[in-house]
Every structure is written in C-alpha cells, then in structure tokens.
C-alpha cells in the first residue's frame, strides 16, 4: 500500500473533491455523499455501463455521459442535477418501464425496489406506451433463487457476480433485443453456496429468494444489525424481523474489512434454531424446575470435593463475554477445576474468486484463544478424551446448533458422573442420561457479546430481539450463581 496513489482535483455539483485518479465519476460522487442513481453499477463488481440511469453532465462534453464508466480527470467539472441529465434519466426510466409488468402488488421487492425509488425521483407519473408489453418467462434458477423475467432490467449484476465473485458462471443472457432474458446455461443450476447474493444485488424484483418468497412485505419488517455465527469469518448481517419478533431473513451488511457485501447461503438460512427446539426452562434431572432450584443444584455439583474433579468444557461458539463469565465462576466456585475447549470440526475452506467460506465453523475460536488460552479446541477436546478415570462434574457450556456428537465428545460425556449443561437448545445432549442440571441460555441473536474472527477482529453485537425463552445469558447466570454463593456464605457465617 505504499505505492503513491495519484490524486486528481475535480468539481462535482460545485463542490471541490480530491479522489484517486483511477476512480470513476460515480465512485467519486458516492464517496463524497453525492447520490447518483444507479442500477448496474456495484462497487464490488466490474463496470457494465448498460442501465444508463447514472447520467451526469461533464463540462465540455456535448451530451450527458454515464457516471459509472467515465474516469475522473484533473480539473473535471461534473453536474448531477442540471436539466440535461435530469431529462436523460427521465427518458431512461421510461424506457426501463416499457416492458415492466408493474406487478408491484405481487412482487416481493416492492418497498425496497430501485425501480420504484427512481420512478418516484426521476420518472414520470404516467406511461405513454400503449402497445402490448413483452411477457417473459418465469423460472426457478436454483434451490434458493427464482427468476421473474418480465421484471428484469438486464443490468447483469447477477451475471457479473457469478463470473467474478463466485466464479461459477452459471448465468448468462439469452435471446436478443427486447426478448433478452437472464438464464442458467443448459444443464446448469444456480446452486453455488453464494447464490442468494444475486437476490440482494438484483436492484429490482427479478431475482427473489424462494425462502423469503411471500413471507412478508418488507415494510412490515424491522431490522437490527448482528454478526453471523456460522463460521470464523463473522459476516456483518442485518436481521429482519416481523412484528412478532420472528426472524424472517438475514442479509449481509457492508463491512469492507470482513465480508464486503457478500454472505453465504447457509449463514442466511441458519436461524431456524432460534424459534424451534429451544430449552424453555431450567431442567433438573429431566423435569422442569425453577431457576432457583436449578442454580442450587448446579452449585452443589460444581463444588463437589472443592471442584477437584470438576471440568469446564466450553465450546468455541460462546461469546468472549460468556467465556470470561465461566472463568469467573470457576475461580469462585471450584478453583481446582480444569478448563477445556471444543467446537465444530473444521472442514476445508471453500474459496471463491471474491469470497471465502471458512471451514472453521466456530465463530469465536480466536476469542477462545484470547480468553481461555486454548488455541485449538479440537486438540483440547482430544486431550480430555484421551484421559481415563471419571469426571465428577462436567460444566458443559454448549450453545452450538446442529452439533454432531463425535466419538471423542461422547467419551467425555460417558466418563462424567454429572453434567451441568448450559445450552439454548432442547436437543440430543439433553436426552443424555447424566445431564443433571440444564440451564437455558440465549442464542447470539438474543444477547449482546463479542466474537473475534479469524483475522483477529473483535466484533461486538447487540441483541436483535427479545429472548424467546426463559433463558439468560451466561454472564447473567454466573452473576446469579455468585450471588447465591455469597448468600450461602453470609448465612453460614451468621449461623
């Protein structure tokens, strides 16, 4: 990054701006908070220059030019709101809408559609086209994406995405002229693990998600920022919830240091565990119990023999705050206990030209290294599994959805006399006979916390919704347990 970047001075709408010489006008304008409408331009894709909505006037040029493909130059003077380009945009909008079906009532994009927005801003209030519109095909592109041909404005963002970012190249344009359509190549389906990004970048309702199809109108959703717990990258996300606080979809949020504007399909769809199969209340020996009873039982088990035979086993799906809280609890209650880590098994990274889906399916392995000093959760679990002899009390802080119990993990569970489980799910682990106490926790959507990603970037997040169960965060549980210890000590001293 030491290479000298040549800068140029130019004027946009009368404002003096200084930008790198290899930028285009639209990028210079957006960087300086001057909006230029655009469909086909995307900062992370190559320039196509085919939608023609980003018209600007350059002093000295005989007619408006496209902002996305015009390089900046020293002394350039650009206007974005003068009569010439406004008239040009109005005409472009009219042409784009000539064959558009105007089926907004049935279209999932309505409410976040650039055609609607720019039609209000730049279009005319009535159509002058009286001939019959061209009707195009409707197809299923892949397992998660559907295509409505008539709505398409052929900006080719999706085609460029599959060429440049996913590198899979399933999409192309077929037919000619006004019968142009986007289609998958013969024998191909749009089934790459990044396919739903095409839905996001589609500025109109041509590509829509089959998973979100007809689920809700977008103006009935409210959004909160979050961090995806799906892998060690920690994509920045926006979680959209309906009025009943049910997660409806997860879409990426721009962060150039982490995920740009992309996200993998499995991360988008991995929220079913928040609303189903939850551990609703504390359990004591398999039966529902109150928090107070469950806490008392947990404390007794943790303090057995002064914690000499107690092991805390913490997954790499926990937030750094949760790990610190458990450390705190162990220090107070069973100082002799040993701490181990585990996590989802690491599989191979899926590398695409513009994005990598990491095989380390643990959001906070780096945080575990920072807080607990365990760099390799798998090796840590292996070390614990290779020991013999029984474990008195296993404090298991789980919080992994869809966890597959490995033989090593099972060996540790089998060797434990009593398990104190902290988990949000009412799953396979709970049916394990030796789980004496189960305390419900919260998913990362319901609590605040920090995940440290594989590049060492600590990303904090806030809850996006109210807790769906009677669960508490690990920090809250530990605080209550410590309060109980304090109360018991005071009672003992008084007696």
């Amino acid at each position: 990054m030491t290479a000298e970047v040549k800068m140029v001075n130019m004027k946009i709408d009368g404002r003096d701006v200084t930008v790198p010489a290899d930028w285009t006008v639209i990028r210079a304008a957006h960087k300086n908070d001057i909006d230029i409408p655009h469909y086909c331009y995307h900062p992370d894709l190559s320039i196509a220059g085919n939608c023609r909505i980003c018209m600007v006037s350059v002093k000295g040029a005989p007619r408006p030019v496209v902002g996305c493909a015009t390089p900046v130059a020293e002394g350039m003077e650009v206007t974005t709101t003068a009569a010439a380009e406004v008239e040009a945009r109005k005409s472009v909008m009219e042409f784009l809408l000539i064959n558009h079906p105007l089926d907004c009532p049935e279209c999932d994009q309505a409410g976040e559609c650039k055609l609607q927005d720019y039609s209000v801003d730049h279009g005319r209030d009535h159509g002058r086209f009286h001939e019959e519109k061209v009707r195009k095909s409707k197809s299923t592109m892949g397992p998660h994406v559907k295509y409505w041909g008539s709505r398409c404005i052929l900006c080719t963002r999706c085609v460029r995405f599959t060429d440049e970012v996913s590198g899979t190249g399933e999409l192309g344009i077929i037919y000619r002229g006004d019968r142009n359509e986007i289609a998958t190549f013969p024998g191909r389906v749009l089934d790459n693990p990044l396919s739903m990004n095409t839905v996001d970048i589609c500025p109109v309702g041509a590509l829509v998600s089959s998973d979100f199809l007809f689920q809700s109108r977008v103006w009935n959703l409210h959004s909160n920022p979050s961090i995806c717990p799906g892998c060690s990258l920690g994509c920045n996300t926006r979680v959209d919830l309906d009025a009943k606080d049910q997660i409806k979809r997860i879409v990426p949020r721009r962060n150039d240091a982490v995920n740009k504007e992309w996200m993998c399909d499995s991360g988008r769809l991995n929220f079913g565990y928040v609303h189903a199969g939850r551990l609703q209340k504390p359990k004591l020996g398999g039966a529902d119990a109150t928090w107070k009873e469950a806490r008392r039982a947990a404390l007794e088990l943790l303090a057995l023999n002064g914690g000499a035979n107690t092991v805390a086993l913490i997954s790499a799906w926990n937030t750094s705050e949760a790990m610190a809280a458990i450390l705190d609890l162990v220090a107070v209650e069973s100082p002799a206990a040993r701490i181990f880590g585990y996590g989802n098994p690491v599989v191979a990274d899926q590398v695409f030209p513009g994005f990598t889906i990491y095989g380390d399916k643990n959001p906070n392995r780096a945080g575990m290294e920072q807080v607990l000093g365990i760099a390799d959760p798998a090796a840590s679990l292996k070390a614990l599994a290779s020991e013999t002899g029984s474990i008195g009390t296993l404090l298991l802080v789980h919080n992994i959805p869809d966890f597959v119990i490995t033989p090593e993990f099972k060996a540790v569970l089998d060797r434990s006399e009593n398990v104190v489980l902290l988990d949000f799910a009412s799953g396979e682990l709970l049916r394990y006979g030796n789980v004496a106490v189960a305390l419900p926790t919260l998913t990362s959507f319901e609590k605040a916390g920090t995940f440290v990603n594989n590049a060492g970037l600590a990303q904090s997040f806030e809850p996006v919704m109210e807790p769906a169960t009677y669960g508490l965060s690990e920090a809250e549980i530990v605080e209550a347990l410590k309060r109980d210890v304090g109360a018991a000590t005071r009672a003992g001293a008084a007696a």
């Binding site: 089926d103 907004c104 009532p105 049935e106 199809l213 007809f214 689920q215 109108r217 103006w219």
Partner: protein, 165 residues
C-alpha cells in the same frame, strides 16, 4: 391581603361571592319545568317511534353505504386479491390480517394469493380506506349493516366468508 395591591381595585376574579341570580322564584323551584318536560314525554308515547328494534330490524340504507366488506372475484370466479397488504397497510384500525401463499400453479398469470384474509369487524371503523388502497379492486364494501353476534370470534370474518359476503 397584599400590601402592594391598590385598595380601590375591585377583586372580581378571586371573589367567592355568589353571582346574583337572574331567575325568578318560580323557575328556581323547578316544578313547572319538570311538569313541562313530563308532558313532552307523555306526548311521545302516542307518536310513531323514530327508532327501530336493531338488530332484529335493520334500517334502510343508501346504495353507497359503507357496510361489511366483500372480497371480489374475477370473471372466472377466482378471487382477485393478490395479498399485496395495501389494505392492511392503509387500515387505521389494524383490523386486517393477511398471510400470503403462492397461487395454485394452474392459475395462469397469478403469483400470490392470501392464505389467510381476516377482518376483525369489531375493530373495523368502516372508513373504506382498504377499498381506496386496493390496486386490484379486490375488496369492496357492501351496504350490509354490520351483523351482531354473541361471541367475539364470530366477528372475525375469514377469507371464505368475505368472498361469499
């Protein structure tokens, strides 16, 4: 009581003295007026009543009366509604509940229909905004006077009831 207040100034606003009555003693004992009022009541006993025995009797209303809603159908008998939520969005009383689903594949040119379309007639204020908002002329108001039921559940009209209303 204030030493600064000028002594000559009349203190009207703070006075607790009752205003002098302008009514005569006959009026003040009320009896003649009570008798007069009872006479009016007595006369009305022998006149034709202006009220009706609602809900057994229904008033006659104009053709443009905004009564219960109806979901309309197209020429082929399919419901016109495409579950766009415009009526629910426009509704000031939040009485319309819609859940969408994909249209049956044999419905040519249709993508979306309402799986659930409910109007809570107890919440509805019969303003007609839903009719104005509808882009498909799929909802209209009949001139049926709102019905009366014995349970709240019966006031929630579902899709089938609205289609046949």
């Amino acid at each position: 009581m204030s030493a600064n207040a000028p002594e000559t100034a009349p203190r009207k606003s703070g006075s607790h003295e009752p205003l002098p009555s302008r009514l005569g003693w006959l009026t003040r004992i009320y009896i003649p007026m009570i008798l007069k009022g009872m006479l009016i009541s007595l006369r009305e006993f022998f006149r034709k009543p202006v009220t009706i025995q609602y809900p057994e009797q229904k008033p006659r209303v104009s053709e443009r009366f905004r009564g219960e809603h109806r979901l309309t159908k197209d020429a082929e008998g399919k419901m016109k509604c495409v579950a766009c939520y415009m009526c629910a969005t426009a509704c000031p009383a939040h009485c319309i509940t819609i859940e969408a689903e994909a249209a049956p594949p044999e419905w040519e040119g249709r993508d979306k229909i309402p799986r659930v379309f409910e109007i809570d007639m107890l919440k509805c204020i019969y303003c007609g905004y839903c009719v104005e908002a509808c882009p498909k002329e799929a909802i209209e108001m009949t001139n049926k006077i709102p019905q009366v039921y014995r349970t709240r559940q019966e006031f929630i009209y579902d899709r089938e009831k609205l289609l046949s209303n």
